[in-house]
Amino acid sequence: MSDVTLNHAGGAGAAAAPRQYHLAHEPHPQNGTSLGFWLYLMSDVLIFAALFATYGVLGRAYAGGPTGAELFDLKLVAINTAFLLLSSITFGFAMLQKQAKNVGGTLTWLAVTGVLGLAFLGVELYEFAHLIHAGATPQTSAFLSAFFTLVGTHGLHVTFGIIWLITLMIQISKHGLTPANVRRVNCLSMFWHFLDVVWVGVFTFVYLMGVL
């Protein structure tokens, strides 16, 4: 906080309430939270860069096990991609409702986003279960270790995003669109769209190039 409270002790007006002052020049940038959250996302980018690099090195090391071309079901991936892309624009609608200070509309679109996120997660868990049932476990080959680590880390991010989304919906329904809640919606928006950006890399480099 950049505010300073001065007590004019000893003066004639000592009995008056303390006067409040602001610094003439704010030392912190406007909306510093969103810059800080952006920096967190950039550090997340570095985690995913390392995982993508790992997958790039190990992605063809099948160790006699199944290959991506044998395992991946592109129709399933297309459905999953559609869920995540739709959830991006529904979060956009929630942002527009938030901007219009419409609590009900914000909650509705956040709920739609959450359902689409859960659908994405459901399809991904179905795919993982299917792979493991078919004997393609993370222990099978370096390719599958790298695959489960990369795609699983993305799925874990989506999971935490949904937990955050539900928590935020409870907060908004209790307290409305307070400045703190508006800030949280803005941060979650960045997080959610960021996950879609990472997914673009996943479906391109893991799935589409994996079946070639």
Partner: protein, 145 residues
């Protein structure tokens, strides 16, 4: 005097003033941005899936390059229309940190692939042709007979 650097607070309650100024959404989002970004993202997603699933391009190397370019364009579309990136937000600091991250990503991925594939080329024994592993060292001292 220190007091000269200060000016009295406004009449509005302090908390309201502060939050309204710093934590409100000074970022203005618009419907047209989201719709435009969504349409572009759908196009840039449908094309790569169609190219691979319909087997349009036969040359593997060409297809890999096309897929990579489409993904890169789509990532930029997401950054601009959904994450509202531009040079002005936060006085350019978000853009600066993004450029740093992108450079770091490039170094990490390209550097790892480069180094590891060279390691493979130099260190993996060639099972098909064991003699290929005989080093062409000038001294010719090898452990194998």
């Amino acid at each position: 005097m220190r007091a000269q650097q200060l000016h009295p607070a406004h009449d509005t309650p302090h908390g309201e003033h502060h939050d309204g100024h710093h934590d409100g959404d000074d970022l203005h989002v618009s419907m047209s941005d989201y719709v435009r970004g969504f349409v572009l993202a759908v196009i840039l997603t449908v094309i790569p899936f169609w190219l691979v699933m319909a087997g349009v391009i036969q040359n593997r190397a060409t297809l890999v390059v096309v897929l990579g370019v489409l993904a890169a364009v789509q990532i930029v579309v997401h950054m601009v229309y959904f994450l509202h990136m531009n040079g002005k937000v936060q006085g350019g600091w978000t853009l600066l940190s993004t450029i740093f991250a992108v450079i770091f990503v490039g170094v990490t991925i390209a550097g790892t692939l480069w180094v590891m594939f060279h390691m493979n080329a130099h260190m993996m024994p060639d099972h098909a042709n064991p003699m290929a592993m005989q080093p062409a060292a000038p001294h010719g001292h090898t452990a194998t007979p």
